[in-house]
Symmetry: C2
Subunit: 207 residues, 2 copies
């Protein structure tokens, strides 16, 4: 298939299992590419430019902002993080469905620049289950867990702006649900106008 890949933007509460879902999705199907973020922070040991991140100087990053070459960006702890358009576009042109795992504000900003993007919100079946998963990780203090639940409350205010709700109850079911959604995107009429032109011409030629 030489057709263009889709852009899939995935957000969800911290603890919803987004990361696991995305990992399982890309492991199970080879049509996906993960978007790679740009950052001005230093590479950590083992990190490679163009694999974990595109590492940029502050000047380079601000140049990307000026040229509108990022879908979204934000500053955390004096470092920039953002999503370069170029890599996503290259991958889509090559026919790959690109996944952007990103927080809510950034996701909505990216959707504005790409109205055709699939905006997916991943959630556990209930707030109780979200809390349970956060506690089960065993890596975070109760303070951090409370902060995440407070953040989830804020994110929930915007979740209705997403296109699809993905309830992550069973991991495999959830992964296949997302995959089917992406596959179905390719059946959209807008993505098949070449076929339409061809069959119109063929029908004309038959008369």
């Amino acid at each position: 298939m030489s057709r263009k890949g889709s852009l899939i933007i995935i957000s969800g509460f911290s603890g919803a299992g987004k990361g696991t879902v995305v990992k399982a999705l890309t492991a199970a199907h080879d049509n996906y590419a993960l978007s790679i973020s740009a950052t001005t922070r230093q590479p950590r040991e083992g990190e490679e430019d163009g694999r974990e991140y595109f590492f940029k100087t502050t000047e380079e990053f601000e140049e990307l902002i000026r040229r509108d070459e990022l879908y979204e960006y934000a500053q955390y702890v004096s470092h920039y993080y953002g999503t370069p358009k170029a890599y996503v576009q290259e991958q889509r042109e090559a026919g790959r469905d690109v996944i952007l795992e990103i927080e809510v504000q950034g996701a909505l900003a990216a959707k504005k620049k790409n109205p055709e993007a699939l905006l997916l919100f991943v959630t556990p079946p209930s707030a109780e289950e979200l809390k349970r998963r956060l506690i089960a990780r065993g890596t975070e203090s109760m303070d951090v867990i409370c902060a995440r639940l407070a953040r989830a409350k804020e994110e929930a205010k915007l979740m209705d702006q997403y296109d699809y709700l993905i309830i992550n109850d069973d991991l495999n079911a959830c992964v296949e649900e997302i995959h089917q959604l992406v596959m179905r995107e390719h059946l959209r009429m807008e993505e098949n106008l070449d076929f339409v032109s061809r069959i119109r011409q063929e029908l004309k030629d038959m008369q």
Copy 2:
């Protein structure tokens, strides 16, 4: 699930295999109901009111038109044919996904009254294959086949107004494709606002 069923409007070239696809779809999955048309023509032997058609007098039918109780209607050979809203709505309220197999003009009219409907256009992979299937039926004269191809040429002019293109190459693949499309529809955020309200409340109650 007590949620409302979807409305699926299926059109396609005569010879595309719509009828077979719809039959296989409803046989394979029990979430579907077929819309039943109303007509003013006389019942044929074995036909039952409310099964093959809702049989109406001309006065009754014109009353349905006046009251805007049809999604679409047309007149053929001095008889009316149309799609009553009431039956479709009842079935959807009962949670069934209702299939409306209908020609192009009627489909586009029905979509206008139901913007949330899934509008699917079924086509063979090529015009050549369409012709082959029409001939293979062996029941029609070359004149009828030519008339159908001429009609297909007209219908092709409107096919880009559909939401999804379904290429009926392999019957089973085609049926599953449509079924997955319908299932994915239920993941739309608009269909899950109850869930959103619930988890928002739960998250609030946790603070």
